[in-house]
């Protein structure tokens, strides 16, 4: 029973965090500074989440570096998301097998 309570609290807090700005922010933002800020935020968030975490994502820094370089090279040539993501995974997997 206690677990159900935990789950409800988790879910409600997480939902409100997403919902309040999404549902109730209806105006177009006028401030050029703030619009610029919101333009950059997605890229900045993803960058901070990826670096340095990606280097620890496979449990082995060498395979992670191989995967990361693969992802950078393929995305530099504008390949689709799924191709980049799965190629990085395959590169990490193959280098892991070679290492062992």
């Amino acid at each position: 029973m206690k677990v159900v309570l935990y789950i409800i609290v988790m879910a409600v807090v997480t939902y409100l965090i997403r919902m309040i700005p999404f549902a109730f922010f209806r105006r177009k933002i006028k401030s050029r500074f703030f619009r610029s800020f919101l333009y950059y935020i997605p890229y900045a968030v993803l960058s901070a989440m990826t670096i340095p975490a990606i280097f620890y994502s496979t449990g082995n820094i060498v395979t992670a570096i191989v995967g990361t370089v693969t992802a950078f090279v393929l995305s530099y040539f504008n390949l689709p998301l799924i191709v980049v993501a799965l190629s990085a995974t395959a590169a990490a997997f193959i280098s892991g097998i070679i290492l062992l």
Partner: protein
């Protein structure tokens, strides 16, 4: 919906790991799946399971979720600026459930306005992947060889890179903001280790974006 497929595949592997973790913490397959279905977030759920495992207070649970997930507020605010006129309040209330790092990333990369149908399709397939992966991981996690489950750890990061690199290549300002954000994030990782990873991401992104907005304001007609 096709844009949701890479997300769903990535989720399948990440939530697999969450399923294993939840079972190790003493939760049932059903409980683990229920957490995934109601929360749809990786870091917040992992931290939530830790709180449950040690029998933490509900206040602690609220604070942990706020800290780790507050970045979704920024994402939601950013997305609110590019919603199609079809996005009425009920649609916003439903779609808000599905604002995750990955869905946000893909939605941000869209040139056109976001419609409810577009977001629902992506959220639906992503959520199915997330919950399925959790259930599979919780039920049979230990069966997968390490070589595969380890390699799958990189899949979502690979997707993030694919979102960041093309605009950074085209636009000098984006490149600067992205490098700055990564640099601050690395600093948090190695120098300011007592800051939680959720906060570290928020601070890195906000500082880098403020600097970007101050030095490279976007033109009126862009976005």
């Amino acid at each position: 919906m096709s844009h949701g497929i890479p997300i769903a595949l990535g989720y399948l592997s990440v939530s697999f790991g969450f399923g294993i973790k939840a079972v190790n913490a003493g939760l049932s397959v059903l409980t683990a799946s229920a957490i995934s279905a109601t929360n749809l977030t990786s870091a917040g759920q992992a931290a939530g399971v830790d709180v449950i495992a040690v029998g933490g207070t509900l206040i602690e649970m609220i604070l942990v979720q706020l800290t780790i997930n507050i970045r979704y507020s920024l994402m939601a605010l950013s997305l609110s600026q590019k919603l199609d006129r079809k996005f009425s309040l009920p649609h916003r209330l439903f779609a808000a459930y599905g604002i995750t790092d990955e869905i946000f990333a893909v939605c941000s990369a869209q040139k056109q306005k976001l419609t409810p149908a577009y977001m629902y399709g992506m959220i639906l397939i992503a959520a199915v992947g997330w919950v399925t992966g959790t259930a599979l991981g919780a039920a049979a996690g230990q069966l997968l060889p390490d070589s595969i489950s380890n390699a799958l750890g990189i899949v979502l990061y690979g997707m993030f890179i694919a979102v960041i690199v093309p605009p950074a290549r085209k636009q000098f300002s984006v490149l600067i903001v992205v490098l700055l954000s990564a640099l601050i994030s690395v600093m948090f990782r190695f120098l300011l280790t007592n800051v939680s990873s959720g906060f570290a991401v928020i601070i890195s992104a906000v500082v880098a974006s403020v600097i970007g907005a101050a030095f490279f304001p976007v033109r009126e007609d862009s976005q």
